[in-house]
Amino acid sequence: MNTEQKIEAILFFKSEPMSRKRLSEILKTGQTEINDGINKLKENLKNRGVALIEKDNEIMLGTAPIFSELIKDLQKEEINKGLSKASLETLAIILYKNEVNRHEIDYIRGVNSSFILRALSIRGLIDKIIDPSDNRRYVYKPSFDLLAYMGVKSIEELPEYSEINNSIKNAVENLEDPSVIETKESPNDANL
């Protein structure tokens, strides 16, 4: 039943090449049905912005080849674009705290940082690693390239490192303290 749509949803979500075998495991369906679904999907995506890309026995979704110029331009633009204040702030927190999870960053900034973290990752400024203290979570740390670019051999060389590192640690400890509530409502203090 709607195998084609299910395959589309899975491929879109995973955004990585997947084997037909794996798809048939996930959908608990026979190979024939999977192949049918893939064929229909391929047919349906024929004249669309997203295409089904096949390599060896693996398939994935990608932007349609006829739009490769358009996408290349977007990529270039992304590269040349400076970082936003919000991105720089997030990066600064990651630098001074070193290993920090998303919840802690969100808490310090008072807003959700998912998109920013993703952008910093794509630019190779931070690394996302499995939290050594809890393997179901991730933590972010500055990349080697970033430290090299800044001309510091280790984060301890950052200005006022120990003071700021401590303040961040203390702030994060308040994470569950309900008496710490929003006190500033003026946009001058905006988390932009």
């Binding site: 979500f13 992304e78 400076g82 720089l88």
Partner: protein, 250 residues
């Protein structure tokens, strides 16, 4: 452990409208002055118990306590009006009553809508794609990333973290004015009782029964009044209130 309990309590803090709405819904009533008068005593009992329950109050902000008392004040007006039809309320008092009724209706609407959210949240999630593994585009720094700038940004982020909040003065004022209002109303009810005894139009109830109801209500008010003083003092929020308490005991 202690800290954890404290958190859960405040996150789940249910305000006065929740309590009031529950009382009305338990009786399957519509929101109007009559139903509000009917639930007043139960609400006051609730607030009184709240004030005696130090464990529950421990994690609360003064403003949260005050929010219960503000509603109590208006309910007392409504109840007094229902007991004593000849009690003349000021325009401001009348508008407080209308306001509470209207606000409760709006709150009822959103509580119902909140239930839609409860039912649907997380049920049929729309997912954004996972991060692409091959997406990293080499290393792309930005000239704004300098050690000095990073320090400034880190400091800036820390400065924005909200600080612990202290009792806002306006809430203290509200508490005092409610206490005064209860005093004033008590006097008005007592006077009505003395001078307007003939005004009680006993329908189903006899005059005597009505008087008993009113006396009971006055006793209740006294309890609430003491409860307010007690709660405020227990929480040790403001010098001004404690002074007042001392002045009274002298």
């Amino acid at each position: 452990m202690e800290n954890q309990a404290y958190t859960i309590k405040t996150v789940n803090f249910e305000g006065p409208f929740v309590v009031l709405l529950n009382l009305i819904e338990e009786r399957k009533l519509f929101i109007n002055e009559i139903s509000l008068a009917r639930v007043t005593e139960d609400y006051l009992k609730y607030v009184n118990n709240l004030q005696l329950d130090k464990n529950r109050l421990a994690g609360w902000q003064a403003a949260e306590i005050a929010s219960f008392i503000v509603v109590a004040a208006t309910l007392i007006l409504i109840k007094s009006k229902s007991l004593l039809p000849n009690l003349n309320l000021t325009l401001e008092e009348e508008s407080d009553i209308k306001d509470l009724e209207d606000r409760l209706k709006i709150f009822e609407l959103y509580s119902r809508l909140a239930n839609n959210i409860k039912i649907n949240f997380g049920k049929n999630i729309i997912f954004a794609p996972l991060e692409r593994k091959n997406e990293i585009l080499a290393f792309l720094p930005d000239e704004q990333i300098t050690a000095r700038n990073m320090m400034t940004f880190a400091r800036g982020a820390l400065d924005k973290i909200p600080q612990k909040v202290f009792l806002p003065k306006v809430e203290v004022k509200k508490v005092i004015s409610i206490e005064e209002m209860i005093d004033r109303l008590t006097k008005r009810i007592e006077n009505s009782l003395k001078f307007n005894f003939k005004d009680f139009s006993g329908k189903a109830e006899t005059k005597e029964e009505r008087v008993v109801v009113i006396v009971g209500f006055l006793a209740m008010l006294e309890l609430v009044r003491q409860g307010i003083l007690h709660a405020v003092q227990e929480n040790n929020f403001a010098d001004i209130i404690i002074k007042k308490q001392e002045a009274e005991t002298m």
